[in-house]
């Protein structure tokens, strides 16, 4: 990697971290198209670098959320049984899939991410605290805006586990965090309040990406200098973005970003069919 390419990748990684923090996404959705479309890296190496960056950005944010008591650690660990299993299977499939199929699958995820950004479904219904099957995954946090403690119970663990396995599979396969699946599942199906769902998803992403990253590392898909440049850049961008998020994240910016994601998905589709 020459110095100009390294600086370019660092710049895009900072941008990915910044945008990811502002919109509550992992950086993978920006890093992978940048590395493949602009810098000519194969999908497998881009996925390996992205997973390392996803661990860095999720670990940074998780520290903050765990400190604040927003993360439901018990629920996260139960769902991680499914996400890690999905991630290992996804990573093994990614190692053997060809570039075009991976690019096509990634384009589909980008289209879903754009749709999710525009609609962002949210439920405000919560369940009272109590056992969920054999486990009690109830939790509480202090809502600083309202100045009161929010207690909630968790329901539909089976459906949540199934969806989490799918999110883990996508993480291992495509090098993204999978939060765009886990957050709505926890909120809409399992009754977890949105802020707690975002914090819990973020916490899980580190372990999910870890399972995929180990497989990619072992198969030589993690190139150290590339992965480190991307991880340092994403972490720096996310640190800035976390401070700017409340000021910048308006509906117009969301719509603009959704349109950009739609455009990038088109480029990935062109790459998938060999026209780029």
């Amino acid at each position: 990697m020459d110095a100009v390419a390294a600086l370019g990748i660092l710049g895009f990684s900072v941008l990915a971290g910044l945008i990811g923090a502002i919109f509550g996404l992992g950086g993978g959705i920006i890093i992978i198209p940048s590395l493949t479309l602009l810098f000519g890296y194969p999908m497998q190496l881009a996925i390996g670098a992205s997973l390392i960056a996803v661990i860095a950005s999720s670990t940074g944010a998780a520290t903050h959320y765990v400190d604040q008591g927003l993360t439901n650690i018990r629920l996260a660990m139960v769902l991680e049984v499914a996400t890690t299993l999905g991630a290992v299977i996804g990573a093994l499939i990614a190692v053997y899939l060809n570039q075009a199929v991976l690019a096509f699958a990634f384009a589909l995820i980008l289209i879903y991410a754009a749709y999710y950004m525009l609609t962002k479904p949210e439920s405000v219904c919560t369940y009272p605290p109590g056992p969920c099957g054999p486990l009690d995954l109830s939790c509480s946090y202090v809502d600083k805006a309202e100045g009161k403690e929010i207690e909630y119970g968790v329901k539909q663990l089976g459906k949540g586990m199934a969806a989490s396995a799918g999110a883990g599979g996508i993480s291992g396969l495509l090098g993204v965090g999978g939060g765009i699946i886990k957050v709505p599942v926890m909120n809409l199906w399992m009754g977890v309040p949105m802020r707690a769902a975002c914090a819990t998803s973020n916490f899980m992403i580190g372990v999910t990406a870890l399972a995929g990253a180990i497989v990619h590392y072992g198969y030589g898909d993690v190139v150290p200098v590339l992965a480190a440049v991307v991880a340092v850049g994403v972490f720096a961008g996310a640190s800035i973005g976390t401070r700017l998020a409340d000021r910048l994240c308006g509906p117009n910016l969301k719509k603009t970003f959704a349109v950009i994601l739609g455009f990038v998905s088109l480029l990935m589709l062109l790459k998938a069919v060999g026209l780029m």
């Binding site: 008591g69 660990m77 290992v88 372990v207 995929g212 180990i214 590392y217 072992g218 150290p224 200098v225």
Partner: protein, 112 residues
């Protein structure tokens, strides 16, 4: 319900791992930039990375940083397991062991 001790310990592990791994990577990258192309940019694994570090190869530092970053979420799983065992939350101990088991499978597959 949240357990302050569990939250505190996990937060400490995550913060320490992140600061240490990113520092190793940043210093390694700075040294690598001074002498680019001195070594082949491929993942080394723990033993080779330490050997490279001993021989003054900055790639060893970068690779150790990456491995430490990968190990950080693993360390928080182990801390959670220990904390659940101390609190006699046996069902959560089983859950933590299951997650660690899947990660162990990933290590076996990755280190084939």
């Amino acid at each position: 319900m949240p357990t302050p001790a569990l939250n505190r310990r996990i937060s400490f592990v995550l913060l320490s791992g992140m600061v240490l791994s990113l520092s190793l990577m940043a210093v390694g990258l700075a040294l690598y930039a001074l002498n680019p192309g001195a070594s082949k940019d491929v993942a080394l694994g723990p033993i080779e990375a330490i050997r490279a570090l001993m021989s003054g190869d900055p790639l060893g530092l970068v690779d150790l940083g990456i491995m430490l970053l990968i190990a950080t979420p693993l360390a928080r799983l182990i801390v959670a397991l220990w904390q659940f065992a101390r609190g006699r939350e046996w069902k959560m101990v089983v859950v933590a062991v299951l997650v660690l088991g899947v990660v162990a499978v990933a290590v076996l597959l990755g280190g084939r």
